[in-house]
Symmetry: D2
Subunit: 390 residues, 4 copies
């Protein structure tokens, strides 16, 4: 029970209610600020996902941030780390609270004041820190630490044994559109990776219905460079990135086992994917171009119809009509995913394009979506940013 | 009286009320949607300022868009012109209305359904179209057509006699922070140019108090390329703009007479400015670096203190403490202006840096600010976007 | 015989001589300017490929440009069209000659002064203009007009019957590395498209030896926006392109039949490819990421070994060792192609990455390579630019 | 005497000879490779200026690189540091030699094999290392260490006493166009900073003739981010730089004393400048927009005429006709500087625009120009790259 913050239990999720109200495009009642505010800590707040959560909070009326941490910048005011964020920019009193805080070390957080946590720490260190938190806290973890169910798979891809296997078992994999119920009652949500989000949104509904085969899934993915984080690395300097592109981590990117695990869940058997990520000369945005083999007798129209039907009631996933092609610009700064499906010249094959903003639906936006569900709030609270173009 | 739309008279501007409430940073009561919606037309909606007004409307609860026009794209649905805007992206019912409309020609607007107008047409054609509108409509005009008071100055810089000199006399120059009262009771507001907005915000308070001289004002200004509009010009192609920069319109840019006219209003005598604009390889953002001569005995600290005092109660203008420097990234996507003041090595001189987003405070955001005042709404309704970084 | 200009016959190609000299990396004797200069016209010189040919000519000692044409800019000096090119920038007297010319219409070229032609005109109009030239001229055509051998395929993809079918039959498809001999004795060379160049360089040697199957060739290609030309189109404005990306022309791009035709030549049977191009936010550069199925018993190492062996003596094609990945930045501004071959997670499959500069090896550089062969000059004359990074 | 390497003495500089030959635009006889090669070391070769020197060497027939150093990357092959440079890309045998070398520490250079040095080390450490070299070596130093004549000024701006004051006195400040004779006979050349180069080229000839006043020189300068070096700093990440700009180092940039020192040399009295640098979202390129006060009776045409006359015989400095405006794109990748002069609206004032490529004329290109003079070679050997656009 969460009487302290007054948010209603996850069992009466108002978003679910709205969803069943029968509108093709669900609208959410505006949520007013109330005395029942969630008291949140943001761990690892000085990276790009931390900045993005703060931006989203500006339109969120029901979350108070009580603590923000950064190992490197502890002791600094937040706006030294993100000078584009200043107290005076915020209109909502709840979001404003972020700006009155100073960054601290994780160990200096007063957990009595906090009931929920966004964890934006690097993988590896995350698992120990979350294991050390009071179990009563609701946690959305943006790292990779709790995404892989199988500890052996984890050990293989991350080169070390998992340090909190119990928590790993308990964690809910939070691709919101597919795990709404589980997220609503979870204590610990493993927020999906950006690539896996863009890939699963179209593939899960198709595999689920057997419309495409689990073999020969070829994913050519492109990501903006903010996905590489804010650490000072030569390879991410402006001069090294601008006006060019490159593949990286061919066959060895750590999002591969996450994608395969989740697709196997619906395919009902082993899935292997070909996955080649590409680093793009832009800050935000992600596209997965996915080459699939259709099951016998299935047409491109069948694929599109299935996706349309599956996402008809979803606020954040949109299927384009035949002939229209998504751009990453269509979703920049928003929590939306836009999908397109196309004939291939190779018989029996189809091409799927999926675009998201890697920092929003691919990270902080989906984290907020999950947190809203965990707090019993409408799922899209604070997420009404429409895409920014230009 | 505006009983038709139910908005309150401009005389009881709620924003003014908030401003006097004594808080350093005014906060606005959230405005709920009501049955008293303004019914608005956006003329010339297919350019970048039109797209930006639509983006801002998504968070505005009190404006219904009833008509959108585009001479070239009439007959098309809006999302064909701006595919990043789709009905399903909008959460607020009022903004959503934009997406249900089809672009028409101006002559096909049903003026009975409209009480207010954002006019985003090119200068030259604007004056005739506005002159042809029913006089009862409230108009914010984003073109240059009504900014210059003196018809001779207009004729000289624009190469033709003004076609609506009566309206020109009546129009209020809407740099909101300096003209709040006049805007509140105006029928026609000439929305300031982007460069002039970034220049006047720091210079007006300083000239007003005689802290800087009206001579030797040297302005080196830099603008993102969205300021050049959405027309298909070779010189604005990606390949022509990326990875380089250039000055343009040296001494001959049409924002010069606008700046001089407005500075003369407070300087109490003739003002000439040196103004050199530069085209930058980015979409949004604007910086004016201004080199000023201080009056005898005045220090840089005096300048900063004056600006701090003048903008203390303003929601959208911010003065940085000594030693901090604004970046255009600090305001991207928001209606904010950030100012910094610095010592020069030349004795008696100071350097002022002013940054805005040219599409927001430099165009559509300020237009919304003005429209809010004209409608008797809190000035920052729909303008709570915080800067987007990354 | 070409005694007029004094270039030696194609039969004694000095480059071929060098190639057989047994060096792993062929070096070319520096070519000195001589009285035996080729007299060249550049038709359609005001686009990006025209600018690029001029840049390359600056280091070319044996070509004099006698005529440059542009339908739209006829009558202007060249540097009005390309102000980055000024007479005084050129060090070589031959290249310098370009800058002394004025753009004319094609019909005003004095053909008596010209023996060779770079044709950079848009497809469709090209075929008629080339058909109208004196047959004695050597022509490298950069358009698509003479690339497709089969007039029915041409008609299907270009929507009109070919107007010079005789010439089409005669034209040599000039992917230099594979057609050296034919190019050397050709009168009309159809310069390959940029995508097809990047695709054929790795695939032809592999298909030729049966190391990969002709089925299931999936090509995910990415191009810089200069490939879209210098025409003023809204969709290529800086604001529309920067900070984002998109697929386009899925399954319907006109480079598809060109690729299929050329692969069929070596595969000995019908070839269909899946080809999805993507528009990138950079000016120059192109990557094709190619997903191939290996023949039974073939390994990734076999593929790499074949490419290494095939390109060992080539000046412009380079195969990276295992584990290294090409970036488009590795070739910017140069005529080089860099290839990498990788294991796929899907059994029996491999991934090939091929990068070129779309304006150089993908257009003007390869055109120069072909012209050099036609003129009996060392193939890399004027092409010694090394990649520009940063 | 330099009989060891066979280059002729600086007293018979062939470039000077060409210059007096009376051509408006000097052309240089092509220099053929000979057995008389300079044997050069590049210290600090792993930064952007090191990469750029290597790029220029590819077209330089008379320099053999015998040693390249990097403290951090010692032991690595050069192409690991700059994978865009591979042995096989180089056509000239002399440049090729770079690629056969491995990076070492400075202390491991075999100085017996080397007669000349490009020093690209960071300032502060440079002075000690150069002081430790055998005095017979010819050195072009790209750091700031030997640019300031006055040790007190040095100490004030760099916060420490100079460690090689004797060498500092001896060093020649190498703004080539103004110091040709001194450079030709120098042992140690202090290569100018990028900003100072772009500023002095127009101002020195004007101050020299008293056409502008030494007061009220206001310089608003803009630099590409490659000027900030290749070190991994958060503030230079792509995400932090793209799509925005900012001023930095207002009044405190270390190029200020360098500019003032050099202008004083021709002004014949103390000079103070207002200097505000701006960081631009592009890799290469620099513009200084300079606001000057003309002497009594002097016109803008007088300024332009003076610059035209002064630079008439120069290969790398170009003055645009009235009405034309330089872009940084006009010089990208080349050693050129382009200048424009404009009326100001403020009476008695003028505006000067100066563009260079910060990595070429602002660093490695000018270093090569200086080295050529020191070696008795034509000044533009290896510098025939024309600007790369797109």
């Amino acid at each position: 029970m969460r009487t302290a913050t007054g948010v209603t239990g996850a069992s009466s999720c108002p978003f679910e209610a709205t969803r069943t109200a029968g509108r093709a495009t669900p609208r959410v009642t505006r949520v007013a600020a109330s005395s029942d505010q969630a008291q949140v800590a943001v761990l690892g707040a000085s990276g790009y996902t931390g900045a993005e959560i703060t931006r989203l909070l500006a339109l969120h009326p029901r979350i108070n941030v009580r603590a923000i941490t950064s190992e490197r910048s502890a002791g600094q005011p937040f706006r030294k780390t993100f000078p584009h964020l200043r107290e005076s920019f915020f209109k909502s009193d709840s979001a404003d609270s972020v700006m009155n805080l100073e960054l601290t070390k994780v160990e200096d957080v007063n957990w009595d004041q906090v009931d929920s946590v966004f964890c934006c720490l690097p993988h590896g260190t995350t698992q120990e820190i979350i294991a050390g938190l009071p179990r009563s806290k609701k946690v959305v973890d943006l790292s990779a630490d709790f995404r892989l169910k199988d500890v052996d798979v984890y050990a293989k891809w991350y080169g070390a044994a998992h340090k909190a296997p119990d928590l790993q078992r308990e964690a809910v994999y939070g691709l919101t559109e597919f795990k709404r119920k589980e997220v609503g009652s979870a204590s610990l949500v493993a927020n999906p990776g950006c690539y896996p989000t863009s890939i699963q949104l179209p593939l899960v509904p198709l595999l689920e219905k057997g419309l495409i085969t689990a073999e020969d899934l070829i994913i050519d993915a492109k990501s903006g460079v903010s996905g590489a984080g804010r650490g000072a690395k030569q390879s991410n300097l402006y001069v090294e990135i601008a006006e060019g592109m490159n593949s990286y981590g061919i066959t060895s990117h750590r999002h591969v086992p996450e994608v395969e695990q989740q697709l196997e869940e619906v395919a009902g058997g082993p899935v292997r994917v070909s996955f080649t990520p590409h680093l793009m000369p832009f800050s935000r945005g992600m596209q997965s171009t996915i080459y699939v083999k259709m099951a016998d007798g299935v047409s491109v129209e069948d694929l599109r119809a299935r996706l349309e039907e599956r996402f008809e009631d979803e606020a954040f996933v949109h299927v384009l009509p035949a002939g229209e092609i998504p751009h990453t610009r269509f979703v920049r700064g928003s929590n939306h995913c836009v999908l397109g499906v196309y004939e291939d010249r190779l018989e029996g094959r189809a091409i799927i394009v999926s675009v998201i903003d890697n920092l929003v639906k691919g990270a902080s936006g989906q984290a907020m979506q999950n947190m809203n569900l965990m707090l019993g709030l409408p799922e899209d609270t604070g997420l009404m940013q429409i895409p920014m173009f230009p």
